[in-house]
């Protein structure tokens, strides 16, 4: 070994810590739109090769021969101060169940489940998944033009969610609205995680 390893301490500036937020929801509900609205960079796309050990769904029927699958994600970045940077991940494709990959959800601070009241059932799997996994989540109802405006209480009832869980109406295209969604999520995550026993 004639190679002298450089000392990590030489790195001049301390790097910020990255925090992951997820945007889940059904196909075409506006996940990438929401990411675009709040991101400081043009949303980028990355592909992750995932193994199928966590797979328990019929969504990939027909590819049994493969041990892996590729999931594409759009993501954006929001720098918050010098110490933290938020990465917001959503998926543009039809993989309604992409968020079930534990590898992607692991370490996420929380998730926004985007809902379209015309197809509310599309977000049921996401609600089930994050409830089971214990990932803090909120529901943001994307108010599409022309869609009947539902009351938050109606959505809460339809999704069977308890009162403390935030549900809000939003316009995924608008930065201010997206900002409000993220603030609501982070506040909720703070509350949920603050109550957890230290062992979790």
């Amino acid at each position: 070994m004639d190679y002298e390893r450089s000392d990590r301490g030489r790195s001049a500036k301390k790097l910020p810590t990255a925090i992951k937020l997820l945007v889940a929801g059904g196909f075409g509900v506006g996940k990438t739109t929401l990411v675009s609205a709040v991101s400081e960079i043009r949303p980028l796309r990355t592909e992750e090769l995932l193994t199928d050990r966590s797979l328990g769904i019929d969504d990939v029927a027909g590819v049994e021969a493969k041990n892996t699958t590729t999931v594409a994600m759009d993501f954006g970045r929001i720098s918050v101060g010098e110490d933290y940077v938020l990465y917001l991940f959503g998926t543009p494709g039809q993989e309604r169940f992409w968020f079930m990959w534990d590898e992607l959800s692991a370490g996420a601070l929380g998730a926004v489940i985007l809902a379209d009241t015309r197809r509310l059932a599309d977000c049921f799997p996401a609600v089930d998944y994050f409830e089971r996994r214990g990932t803090p989540f909120i529901v943001a109802v994307n108010c599409f033009d022309g869609a009947r405006q539902y009351e938050v209480d109606e959505v809460r009832l339809a999704l069977g969610l308890p009162a403390p869980l935030p549900i809000l109406l939003c316009d995924a295209r608008r930065r201010e609205s997206g900002k409000e969604v993220l603030i609501t999520l982070v506040k909720h995550a703070m509350e949920v995680n603050g109550k957890r026993p230290a062992s979790v």
């Binding site: 810590t17 992750e48 929001i78 900002k179």
Partner: protein, 128 residues
């Protein structure tokens, strides 16, 4: 003809062969980095430029070192170079091993109770 047990044989023959082969060659067949875990949101920063005498690095290695003069996540590096995250991890492992980059791993889940972190994030979001 058993180059790689992980890939079904037909992958080499159908139209998917291109995107599978290229990154595979780029990592010289390796699927795991020699050092580091590299979460999708681990932040990478270059420490020093690559010297002219350095051998064994691809153009992609050099591109990463140039890109990461400003800290970028693994996901961003992958997106900018249009390569799968798995390929980028292998290349980053080489660069970490040779001391060209430093890595900041993300907040572990156990630290999610840190109130100061939440306050900082909320302040940052409100200032957007």
């Amino acid at each position: 003809m058993n180059f790689n047990d992980e890939l079904p044989e037909e992958s080499w023959l159908d139209d998917q062969a291109g995107p599978i082969v290229r990154p595979y060659v780029m990592t010289r067949g390796r699927t795991e980095p020699i050092r580091g875990d590299f979460d999708l949101i681990s932040l990478i920063a270059s420490i020093r430029p690559v010297g002219a005498k350095e051998v064994g690095l691809n153009p992609e290695h050099l591109a990463i070192v140039r890109l990461c003069q400003e800290p970028l996540s693994v996901a961003e590096v992958a997106a900018h170079l249009d390569l799968p995250a798995g390929t980028i991890r292998v290349l980053l492992g080489d660069l970490l091993d040779r001391g060209y980059v430093t890595v900041q791993d993300p907040q572990p889940e156990v630290d999610m109770r840190d109130r100061r972190m939440y306050e900082a994030v909320l302040d940052g979001l409100r200032a957007l």
